[in-house]
């Protein structure tokens, strides 16, 4: 997730505050940073950005293929595309794996602040319109 979290010149690892209520209430928003359980390693957690939700179409930047995200799944990607192992590798993941939304950075002190949501690149994601 560099440079959003743990920027390269860091002295401390970032500590983050999780908002679990939005996941319990099934309020997912594209562009939020989320914590999820790794789909292939049950005891590990990942921090990724939520790119697409069920029904959206996402293109893979390498192959240019468009994939439709199945019901109950989502598309997650790291901000550091070159170093991230994410949905571009293992495909859409179940929404049930999401544990919480990253709402703030708590530590180190100079980085305290709200986590910015960043809408996905419209040239890569076709968002499902309600009623379609």
């Amino acid at each position: 997730m560099q440079p959003t979290l743990n920027p390269p010149d860091r002295t401390f690892e970032d500590r983050i505050l999780l908002d679990k209520l939005s996941v319990w209430g099934y309020k997912y928003r594209r562009g939020d940073v989320v914590v999820l359980r790794a789909p292939d390693r049950p005891n590990e957690f990942l921090v990724k950005r939520l790119i697409g939700l069920q029904g959206d179409w996402v293109s893979n930047p390498e192959t240019q293929d468009m994939t439709r995200i199945p019901d109950g799944k989502c598309w997650v990607e790291g901000d550091n595309a070159a170093a991230s192992s994410d949905s571009r590798e293992y495909g859409a993941v179940p929404l049930a794996l999401l544990e919480g939304r990253v709402s703030h950075i708590l530590w180190p002190p100079q980085r305290i602040g709200r986590m910015q949501s960043r809408p996905p690149d419209p040239s890569r994601v076709v968002i499902r319109r309600p009623g379609m």
Partner: protein
């Protein structure tokens, strides 16, 4: 006036504290230790009836990774984060399993379960919608192991682990 209310307010705060502590204890116990839920639907016939069984679920084995093929488990549905499914584990990661067909005329498939996933399937193979439809399920979604059926009383008993 406010002087007179002070002991009352203190007492109310203390009681509220007890209620909150009790609620937290119940929540943690139900999430991490054991729980009683219902299992409704025809997909697990004949092990569970379609009208619904009340089942006793323990959450310790999934957390410690002590599940084995043949166990009946509850999991969050990969199709809908809001739903809980109750299925039997047919294979754990790395297992090579024979998957029976969904339709009576289809043939048996051979599947290798990928890393960190489990293959979930209902006992009633022609009705159940399971891993044959949505593929292997991340093991992180498995939340509990079904140990006992406690209702209806005629079916009370231990839930056997078996490989179909």
């Amino acid at each position: 006036m406010f002087q007179a209310l002070r002991p009352l307010a203190k007492e109310m705060l203390e009681r509220a504290g007890v209620v909150v502590q009790f609620g937290s204890f119940i929540y943690c116990f139900g999430t991490y230790v054991m729980d009683v839920t219902t299992c409704v639907g025809p997909s697990m016939l004949p092990s569970f009836n379609a009208e619904g069984n009340i089942i006793f679920v323990e959450h310790i084995s999934p957390r410690l990774g002590r599940l084995k093929a043949g166990d009946v488990v509850t999991a969050q549905s990969p199709r809908n984060p809001n739903a809980v499914i109750c299925k039997r584990i047919l294979g754990l990661e790395g297992d090579r399993i024979r998957v029976p067909p969904t339709m009576p005329r289809d043939s048996i498939r051979l599947v290798t379960v990928p890393k960190g996933h489990v293959w979930l399937q209902g006992d009633n193979q022609f009705v159940s919608r399971d891993s044959r439809e949505y593929g292997p399920v991340p093991a992180a979604l498995v939340k509990g192991k079904v140990v006992f059926k406690i209702w209806p009383p005629s079916q009370f008993g231990h839930v056997e682990s078996r490989i179909p």
